[in-house]
C-alpha cells in the first residue's frame, strides 16, 4: 500500500477504518513499527472495536490518508492483536516520551510523529517536539496558528529527524529516546550533565552508561552531589571506579564522600592504589575548608634543580596534573620553601638553580581554613592556586581558583540543578 506525501500520527489516531463494503472495522488505536532500511516503517495498525483490539497488516490496507483509511479485509477475518513485549508501538512507546535534543542540548517531549511514504511503505521520518505538535494533538492547530498571527508571530515547525533517534534502553518501562551515542558524546560535558539532571535517575544512569569514561568523568563532576550519588549508585562498581579514577582526586573525593559507606569502599578498592590513597587523604577534611577543596596533584621540585632540568621534567609531569601554573619548591623533608610561577621559570636563565629564582615570601593556608578565607587570599594576591600546609610546613595540597570561584559567582552562572 503506497503512501503519498506526509502524515502526522495524531491525525490518524481514533480515525475509523473501513472494510471493502464501507463497513466500520473499528478505529485506529496504535501502530506497530518495525526496523527498516533506511528508516523504521509501519508494519501494522492496531484497531479497536468494542474494546477488542485487532491487528491489520500494512499490506491489507487499500487507502491510507488523513481523510480515509480502508482495508481489503472484511470484519470477520481480522485477527485479534496479541500483545507482545517486543513490539514497538508509536502511541504507547513513543508519543509523549522524553527525548534528548542534542542540538539544543536539552530534554524535550515527543508531541507527534511524522510519517512519509517511501517505496510503498510508511516510514517514520521525524518526531515533532514543538508547540505545533501540541496544538495538533489538542485539535486546535489552526486556531493556534491564527492566534500566533495576531501577535505577528509564526508557529514554527520543530522536528527532529528520525535519523538522530534511537531507543535509550529497550527494557525501560517507558522508553526514552536519544540521539545516537556518538552525537551525545560530542556535547559539552556540562550540557550532558544538564540533560542527565532533567530525566529520571534511572534514565540518567542509562544515558551515563553509554558515555566513554572520560566524558562521563567530566559530566559527573558537573552534577549536584545528590544526583552524583544517585547515578553512581545505579551503575556497577567496575564502571563507577573506572569513571572516578579519571577524575582529579579532589573531585573524586567529593563524589565518594556523598556515597553510602559500603559503595564507597567497594569503589575505592577497585581504584588504583596510589590514586585511592590520594582520595582517602582528601576525604579526611571538612567539605568547605581548604582541606576539603584542595587537590593533591601539583608539581613540586627540589631547590637544587636547574631551570633547564626543571623545564625538561615539567614537560613530562604537566601531562598528569590539572593545574600547572606554579612549581612548588620543597626540601628533602617535603617542607614547602618556595614557589616559582611557570612564567618566571620560562624566563629565567637556564642554568640557574631553582632556589635562586624562587619566591620565598609564601602565601599559604592551613587545611582547616574556611573556603571564604581561601577565596579572599586568592583574590587579594591574584593567585591561580594557593598551597595548603600543615603547622610543620609540609605541603599537603593546593586549592585552585576554579574550586573556589563558585562561592563568589552569582548562582545563575553556577552549575546547579533545579531543586525546589
Amino acid at each position: 500500500m503506497p503512501l503519498f506525501g506526509e502524515l502526522f500520527v495524531s491525525e490518524l489516531i481514533k480515525k475509523p477504518v473501513l472494510d471493502p463494503s464501507g463497513e466500520e472495522l473499528g478505529f485506529v488505536r496504535d501502530f506497530i513499527v518495525v526496523r527498516g532500511e533506511p528508516l523504521p516503517r509501519l508494519s501494522a495498525l492496531i484497531i479497536e472495536k468494542k474494546k477488542v483490539q485487532y491487528r491489520l497488516n500494512w499490506e491489507d490496507l487499500s487507502i491510507f490518508n488523513k481523510r480515509i483509511i480502508s482495508s481489503s479485509v472484511r470484519a470477520g477475518s481480522l485477527k485479534p492483536y496479541v500483545f507482545s513485549e517486543d513490539d514497538l508501538l508509536i502511541s504507547r512507546d513513543i508519543l509523549d516520551k522524553q527525548i534528548v535534543d542534542a542540538n539544543g542540548a536539552k530534554v524535550v517531549r515527543v508531541n507527534d510523529v511524522k510519517l512519509e511514504g517511501f517505496d510503498g511503505d510508511a516510514c517514520l521520518i521525524a518526531v515533532d517536539v514543538g508547540m505545533r505538535g501540541i496544538l495538533r494533538r489538542l485539535g486546535i492547530e489552526h486556531r493556534g496558528e491564527n492566534l500566533f498571527r495576531i501577535f505577528g508571530k509564526k508557529l514554527s515547525q520543530n522536528l527532529i529527524s528520525w535519523n538522530y533517534i534511537q531507543p535509550l534502553e529497550p527494557k525501560l518501562t517507558t522508553i526514552s529516546l536519544t540521539v545516537p551515542r556518538q552525537m551525545l558524546s560530542e556535547l559539552h560535558p556540562a550540557d550532558i550533565a544538564e540533560i542527565i539532571s532533567q530525566v529520571s535517575h534511572l534514565e540518567g544512569a542509562a544515558l551515563f552508561k553509554g558515555l566513554d569514561p572520560e566524558t562521563a568523568a567530566e559530566a559527573l563532576h558537573e552534577l549536584e552531589p545528590d544526583v552524583q550519588a544517585a547515578i553512581i549508585g545505579r551503575i556497577d562498581k567496575e564502571q563507577a571506579s573506572d569513571i572516578i579514577e579519571r577524575m582529579p582526586p579532589d573531585e573524586a573525593a567529593d563524589v565518594i564522600a556523598d556515597l553510602p559507606a559500603e559503595k564507597a569502599k567497594e569503589i575505592l578498592e577497585l581504584i588504583e592504589k596510589e590514586e585511592a590513597e590520594d582520595i582517602q587523604e582528601l576525604l579526611g577534611h571538612e567539605e568547605d575548608t581548604s582541606g576539603g577543596l584542595m587537590t593533591n596533584e601539583y608539581i613540586a621540585y627540589a631547590p637544587g634543580l636547574r631551570v633547564s632540568e626543571a623545564i625538561e621534567r615539567f614537560r613530562e609531569d604537566a601531562r598528569e596534573v590539572e593545574t600547572v601554573y606554579y612549581i612548588y619548591i620543597v626540601d628533602v623533608e617535603e617542607k614547602l620553601i618556595g614557589v616559582i610561577s611557570l612564567r618566571e621559570l620560562l624566563l629565567a636563565p637556564p642554568d640557574a638553580p631553582l632556589s635562586e629564582i624562587m619566591e620565598t615570601k609564601l602565601k599559604t593556608v592551613a587545611p582547616e581554613s574556611d573556603q571564604r578565607v581561601v577565596a579572599e587570599m586568592l583574590s587579594k594576591y591574584n593567585l591561580l592556586a594557593i598551597p595548603v600546609i600543615d603547622p610543620e610546613n609540609f605541603l599537603l595540597g593546593i586549592v585552585t581558583i576554579d574550586d573556589v570561584i563558585d562561592i563568589f559567582l552569582p548562582p545563575a552562572a553556577r552549575k546547579k540543578r533545579r531543586r525546589v
Binding site: 509523549d96 517531549r109 518501562t173 529520571s200 545528590d226 547515578i231 552569582p410 552562572a413 531543586r419 525546589v420
Partner: protein
C-alpha cells in the same frame, strides 16, 4: 530534612491557617477530632505518590503525560495553573494582612515581598532557600507556643480530639470539609512526588521515606491542632467571630496577650511568604516538564520563555491583584478553591490508576488491602469535595 516534612510544612499556608483559625473561633474544640481522619487520609494519599516518586524517578505530571497523553495533561495543567494562581494570591493576601498587623503598609510590603521572592529564586542559591525553609519550619513552632500560652482546658481538648462531635449545622459541615480540603491539595501531590524523584531516593531506602511522609503529615496536623486550640481557647468563649487568619491574630491580643498575638502574626507572615515562594515556582516546573518545555531557575527568558513567563506572571498578577483596593479577593480565593476541589479527584484518580499499573510500578503496586483503603479515601474525598463545592458556592453567593 526530608521532602515529606518540607511538603507538609508548606501545606500549612495562609488559607490553611485561615480555615483552622475560623474553625477554632467558631466552634471551639469541637472540630478537633476531624484532624485524625484527615491525617490518615493525608498519609494514605501522600504515601502513594511518594512511592511512585521512588520507583519511577519521575514526577506526577511526567507520568500522567507519558501514560495518558497530551490532552488530559494539558487541561490538568491549565487547571493547576489557575488553582495555584489562586493559592499564590491567597498567600500574598496573607502576607499583606500579617504585615498590616505590625503597622506596615501593604502597598510597600507586598511589592517588597514579590521582589524578594523573585530575587531569591533567580539570584539566590538553593542552599539559601534551604536555610530559609529550615528557619521557616521552625517558625511554625510559634503556633504551638501561642497555643500553650493561651492556657487551654487540656482535658476538654483531649476529649474532643478523640470523640467525634457531629453538628447538623451548615457552617459546621462546611468547615469540616474545608479543613480536609485545605489539607489535601492537588499541588502538594505534584510537589511531593517530584521532590522525592529529584532526591533520587532508591527502593532500598523507601522505608525511611515512608517515615518521612508520616512524620510530615503528622506535623501538618499538629500545627493545625494548635491553631484550632489557640483560637478555640481565647476567641470561642467570647463569641468573637473571625473570618480570616489576621483577624484571629488581632483578636488574640487582649485575650491571650501580646506574645501569643505576635507569634500568631509572625507565623502567618512566615507561612504566607513560604507559600508565595514555592507555589509559583513549583507550578512553572510541573507545567513545563509536562509540556516538554525548557525549565530551570538558572535559565534566561530567552532560553526558557514559558517557564520564566509562567513564574513571573503568577507572581506579578497575584501581587497586583492583592494591591488593587476593593479587589474581589474573597471571590477569587473561592474560585481557586473550587478549581482545586474539582482538580483533586482527577489528580487522585490518575495517581491511583498509575500506582496500580504493573507496567510502571512493577511489584510495588498497591496491595489489595491498601487499595480498598485508598479507593475508600478517594471516594470519601471526592464526595466531600463535591459537597464543599456546592456549599462554597451556595454559602458565599
Amino acid at each position: 530534612m526530608g521532602p515529606g516534612i518540607i511538603t507538609a510544612n508548606l501545606d500549612n499556608d495562609a488559607s490553611g491557617i485561615a480555615t483552622y483559625s475560623v474553625a477554632g473561633a467558631r466552634f471551639g474544640y469541637s472540630l478537633l477530632w476531624i484532624l485524625i481522619p484527615t491525617t490518615v487520609a493525608l498519609v494514605v494519599v501522600q504515601e502513594m505518590v511518594a512511592r511512585m516518586g521512588v520507583i519511577t524517578g519521575k514526577g506526577l505530571s511526567d507520568l500522567i503525560r507519558e501514560n495518558y497523553g497530551v490532552r488530559p495533561t494539558f487541561y490538568m495543567m491549565l487547571a493547576l495553573l489557575f488553582a495555584n494562581f489562586g493559592t499564590t494570591v491567597a498567600n500574598f493576601a496573607g502576607w499583606a494582612a500579617s504585615m498590616e498587623i505590625f503597622g506596615l503598609s501593604k502597598y510597600i510590603m507586598v511589592p517588597f515581598g514579590a521582589v524578594f521572592i523573585w530575587l531569591l529564586v533567580t539570584r539566590g542559591s538553593y542552599r539559601l532557600l534551604e536555610r530559609i525553609l529550615l528557619v521557616a519550619c521552625l517558625l511554625y513552632l510559634g503556633y504551638i507556643i501561642s497555643g500553650v500560652l493561651s492556657k487551654p482546658d487540656w482535658a476538654q481538648v483531649a476529649y474532643n480530639t478523640i470523640v467525634p462531635t457531629l453538628k447538623w449545622d451548615a457552617e459546621y459541615m462546611m468547615l469540616t470539609i474545608a479543613i480536609i480540603g485545605t489539607t489535601i491539595t492537588p499541588w502538594m501531590q505534584f510537589y511531593l512526588q517530584s521532590s522525592i524523584a529529584e532526591k533520587g531516593i532508591r527502593k532500598e531506602h523507601y522505608k525511611a521515606s515512608r517515615l518521612d511522609v508520616i512524620i510530615g503529615c503528622s506535623i501538618t496536623d499538629i500545627i493545625a491542632f494548635f491553631i484550632i486550640v489557640t483560637c478555640a481557647t481565647t476567641l470561642f468563649p467570647y463569641g468573637i467571630r473571625v473570618n480570616e487568619a489576621h483577624e484571629a491574630a488581632i483578636a488574640l491580643k487582649p485575650l491571650a496577650g501580646q506574645y501569643a498575638s505576635g507569634l500568631f502574626a509572625v507565623s502567618l507572615a512566615n507561612a504566607s511568604i513560604l507559600g508565595a515562594i514555592i507555589v509559583p515556582l513549583a507550578t512553572a516546573y510541573y507545567v513545563c516538564e509536562a509540556m516538554g518545555w525548557e525549565a530551570g531557575v538558572n535559565k534566561t527568558f530567552k532560553e526558557a520563555p514559558q517557564f520564566m513567563w509562567i513564574y513571573t506572571v503568577l507572581i506579578v498578577f497575584s501581587c497586583v491583584l492583592v494591591l488593587i483596593p476593593g479587589a474581589p479577593l474573597i471571590l477569587f480565593m473561592i474560585l481557586s478553591s473550587v478549581v482545586n476541589g474539582i482538580l483533586l479527584p482527577f489528580v487522585l484518580v490518575f495517581a491511583l490508576s498509575l500506582v496500580n499499573n504493573r507496567a510502571i510500578m512493577g511489584e510495588h503496586i498497591n496491595p489489595k488491602s491498601y487499595n480498598y483503603i485508598s479507593w475508600g479515601t478517594v471516594v470519601v474525598l471526592i464526595a466531600l469535595t463535591a459537597v464543599f463545592l456546592v456549599m462554597t458556592v451556595a454559602w458565599k453567593t
